[in-house]
Amino acid sequence: MERQIDVRTKQVSPAFVVRDTADQDLWATVLNQLDDVAENLQLDSGIHAILRQPERELTVSVPVVMDDGHIEVFTGYRIQHSSARGPCKGGIRYHPAVNLNEVRALAALMTWKCAVVNIPYGGAKGGVQCEPGELSQDELCRMTRRFTAMIMPIIGSRRDIPAPDVNTNPQVMAWITDTVSMLERKTVIDIVTGKPIPLGGSKGRTEATGRGVAITTLELLKRQGIAPNDARVAVQGYGNVGSHAATILNGMGCQIVAVSDVTGGLYKGDGLDISGINKHVTAHPKGLLEGYGAPGVEQIDNDELLTSDVDVLIPAALEHQIRADNADDIRASMIVEGANGPTTREADSILGERGVVVVPDILANAGGVVVSYFEWVQDLQCYFWDEKEVNDNLKRIMVRSFKEVWDFSQEKDVPLRLGAYMLAVDRVANAVKSRGVFP
């Protein structure tokens, strides 16, 4: 009997067309930012032109036999912005709104992020346009394996090493590892990072970003002549990044006077009991701060946290928390961006005029990509480090990176954000220049 084949190609819904315009704006924003930096660096126009364009863009169709037997065809992307400094590095995301412009922009941002911490990677990003929650585990596995097979010509442990991103996780990375291993007929654990530890993942990855934020904060305090014991810190967001940053800073002597999550915040002028809060959060069925109480602890909301009387504010929740309408009210003299993009461009200008020192996300939250680099190094060597070695090496790289960004910004007399981007672009440009243009 002839089997009827039902093929459905996933179409982008009109709802996302509007967003696509925003994504074009985003790619344009990334290019504008590069143009500003190039002007500040007086970058060679030829090298500038090279960096304005991704090296390679691959669009693939990803047909998947769904559980009910019909075939759906998804669209996937892998974009490599630059491999001048080393193999490309960047996550793979599963989301209905993934598109070329978004992936282009994110790939370029990865190039700068890897360069600012001086790890030998270029930048890449990838994704599949899908609604992951609607896919069963089996469908998700089949889609991942087919996507992997389709992008295999351009990925590899010395070419391009993917990692988790929005709606992907260590399990997805394990499927990618297995697919490449089966097709290459050998075990290839160095093809991705963010794997489960039994499959070559690195110890210390869970805390890496928060630890990096804490190390950066301590370096900033040192430059400002403030001892950790005298520093009052507020942390917005008590998830994986915020909670680890608060715990490590508290362990180094800082007074964490305010923390918050989606349920609200806690404030205590002479310092919160972070160990007690962590016990409460661990015992809470949803891992939240709500319900915590101790003598002298006041309940505050997220807006009050942002404007609390502290030396250091660490926004480690979501984007756009510090905006033009609240930037003037911020009392902290230092901001360390644990989250991606917590400060809007307008707010950044206001803070700059007020003399507030902002450590940008590209540097402050780079601890995660640094430990991903360590995972790759360990996989290549087939020799795995203990957690102390991971943490010690992370500290060494974050301290060095902070110093380099700080010194560069001082030398050029620019804010840390611009300094970090200038340093990153300068490094990539120098690599391009040294290698020359092939042939």
């Binding site: 998830g239 480690a316 905006r323 991606n340």
Partner: protein, 187 residues
């Protein structure tokens, strides 16, 4: 797949009568949301019954919690949209500083259901509707999964046109590339 209503599985108690807002059928709406959300979870997680889903939830199985959260998010979004004509669309999102760190963070069972509701305007009625639905859902879900200390299941942020157009607060996330939410319901 066996069809057992949430009512039969749990003794759902009435919503707090002292609450500032009660809409006529909070408990039955919560039961419907749970029934359909758990059935969705069973299908996607490859489990043969809703009872297996509940057992897996009780055991803290991460993937099942993940599907359950998504299934409930869709049904909650649908209910909110149907009960308030002012609602335009509803999105679900994962919440942490960076998406890469989200997957290395707490287990999925420890996550609230994070929703962004885009409404024509923010009203007290919509706020009360969300709170009442959360209360009813918490009571039913807490008994079902055996977490009596649960006080919230939903984290709902309401945004209006000005928030979205001005990219203010949670309105900014709808066009975010870092923590991009997924649309689960639209009018």
């Amino acid at each position: 797949m066996s069809k057992v209503s949430t009512k039969e599985r749990t003794k759902t108690t009435a919503v707090d009568t002292a609450a500032p807002f009660r809409w006529p059928d909070a408990n039955s709406t919560a039961e419907l949301v749970l029934d359909e959300g758990l059935a969705f979870c069973a299908r996607k997680a490859g489990l043969d019954s809703v009872e297996s889903v509940i057992e897996s939830l009780r055991q803290g199985e991460s993937t099942v919690h993940q599907y359950c959260r998504y299934g409930l998010a869709k049904k909650v979004a649908e209910s909110i949209g149907q009960l308030d004509e002012n609602v335009k669309s509803v999105y679900t999102l994962d919440y942490d500083a960076t998406p890469q760190d989200r997957c290395f963070g707490a287990d999925d069972q420890a996550s609230l259901i994070h929703l962004i509701v885009w409404a024509g305007r923010k009203t007290d009625a919509l706020d009360a509707l969300v709170k009442a639905l959360d209360r009813a859902l918490v009571q039913a879900y807490a008994e079902l999964v055996n977490v009596p200390q649960l006080t919230h299941l939903l984290d709902v942020q309401i945004v209006d046109d000005a928030d979205v157009e001005g990219r203010r607060g949670y309105g900014a996330l709808l066009s975010s590339i870092h923590n991009r939410p997924i649309k689960v319901w639209a009018r």
